[in-house]
Symmetry: C2
Subunit: 336 residues, 2 copies
Amino acid sequence: MKVVVDIFGGDNSPDALVKGSLDAMTEIKNLEIVMVGDSDKIKAELDKYKHDDKRIEIFDAKDVITNDDVPTMAIKTKKESSLVKALELLDSRDDTCGLVSAGSTGAVLTGGIFKVKRLDGINRPALAPVLPTKTGGNVCLIDCGANVDCRPEFLTQFAVMGSCYMKAVYGIENPRVGLVSVGVEDKKGNELTKEVFKVLKEMPINFVGNMEARDALSGNYDVLVCDGFVGNVLLKTAEGTAGMVMSMMKKAIMSSASAKFGALFMKKAFKKLKYDMDYNTRGGAPFLGVRKIIVKAHGGSNDVAVKAAVMQTVKMAENNLVDNIRRELNALQNNE
Amino acid sequence: MKVVVDIFGGDNSPDALVKGSLDAMTEIKNLEIVMVGDSDKIKAELDKYKHDDKRIEIFDAKDVITNDDVPTMAIKTKKESSLVKALELLDSRDDTCGLVSAGSTGAVLTGGIFKVKRLDGINRPALAPVLPTKTGGNVCLIDCGANVDCRPEFLTQFAVMGSCYMKAVYGIENPRVGLVSVGVEDKKGNELTKEVFKVLKEMPINFVGNMEARDALSGNYDVLVCDGFVGNVLLKTAEGTAGMVMSMMKKAIMSSASAKFGALFMKKAFKKLKYDMDYNTRGGAPFLGVRKIIVKAHGGSNDVAVKAAVMQTVKMAENNLVDNIRRELNALQNNE
């Protein structure tokens, strides 16, 4: 099992990327890593930790793509960047099973499509992060920003890919797929979702109907399907609101002496809450619909997040996610 | 100042509607209420409280529109319903300044358009609830579900109406208008928002650019403009996430004895937090763009929410909201 890691993407590169990769290797004994980026800096970072040289390959790439670069331009012109090199490696070498990058989302998505290519039958690959639910479970939100303008067939393909992903990585046998809408009734929705609803109802997936955004994190759904604009709004509203409630709580506590005293006894409870809500423990968002596994880790990922993203990549590979998506899509198309 | 109240809409009718109306009358000395609905039941409810008969008019209407009714059908056929009667009263009598209903959202919106009519120059009236922000302020989200498929000119009109509303009711001199998008950069967005962005930039409002949904409740915006599908997803995701965080916190507290002990000292702080986040204290969502003031209160409104909605209606009337919207729209159209 060999995973390519773009060591020079994200706010905490190279340290969090190197450390996270090594920690994943400690966890998974047959894991090897190809580290792509400035080799001198990678070596200097590696020297800080005990590690097994035989399981690490360093691939030199001196340039870096940043969030200020225009994605399509950067992928075309920054040929020596760690991301472009990493993508080319992933595409050309059969011994690699996937790629992790915490770099510019736009560049990872554009690069994924240009360098690794779409799967046959997929119109648009999609970004599919997983969020925590009220019941302690997980829900996959697809698409989350890769495609802001969608046709109905894009969303029906998202439904298939999201289902395959939740099966492969979370072991959910028959993922419940909901369509993000403005109410649960069958007739609710806009022009796009009404078209999608009709098709999803006939597809061999576990489509449970329209979902009202209030229930996104209820635990009643395993996959939420929407266009990338709506998915992005949903994801970021959830993040922003969680942050706001926490900060309002902090303010309420700090404004009262007895509450401050009480909070001393709740440190562990608060810590657990923070952990449950922390994206760092959840790895990254897979970019589904391309010919190999690509996981986009959060730009602010620390070593814990990088480790989780690498382990998630291995899990997707072990469970043949790409082949499963290919097969289910073929079955669907032969069915039509 | 005379406000029409649909006493038989919402989960808590007639009691919360009657009590809330009376409480608003206690607060505002020159307020009169026209209560619409089953007159016997209204009288029985009124008898429970000290009240001034001279300031209350009862208008009999025996039928009720429920959430199970199809809105357009119900408005056409349930001519004796409290909502239809209330809307007709509002439209026909010059001495009434606005209407409050906690009934079916679809019926209130449809009825508003059919019975009270759109303002000249408005393509689509919009629902514009106000949410609490992190900094203790308020932000108006327009549209929030009345129009799930929008053309660019609908959104630019929403921007004008939202601005007028935040000026009139919250006294904000130069409301900061943000366009809900997938990033703050000027070029981010989907086909619709990119068109809208260009127009908003040229308009005589305080347009501050694209907004990422993570910042919806940041306090950096006074008005958020979006189509009704996106607005509905944003609003309900915020509600759902706030609920989830609170319930996760409760669980974390209950799972630890010391945290439970600590929580005893935080009751007041939690209560304040709950109050700040409670929609009942915020009144209802105005339906902007029709010829008179209509406020849709939450279906689950209690007497506190009804009181707030009635007082909000009075404030909108006192500040000539409808005339202001009319004037600003005219100025805009003469400018083109």
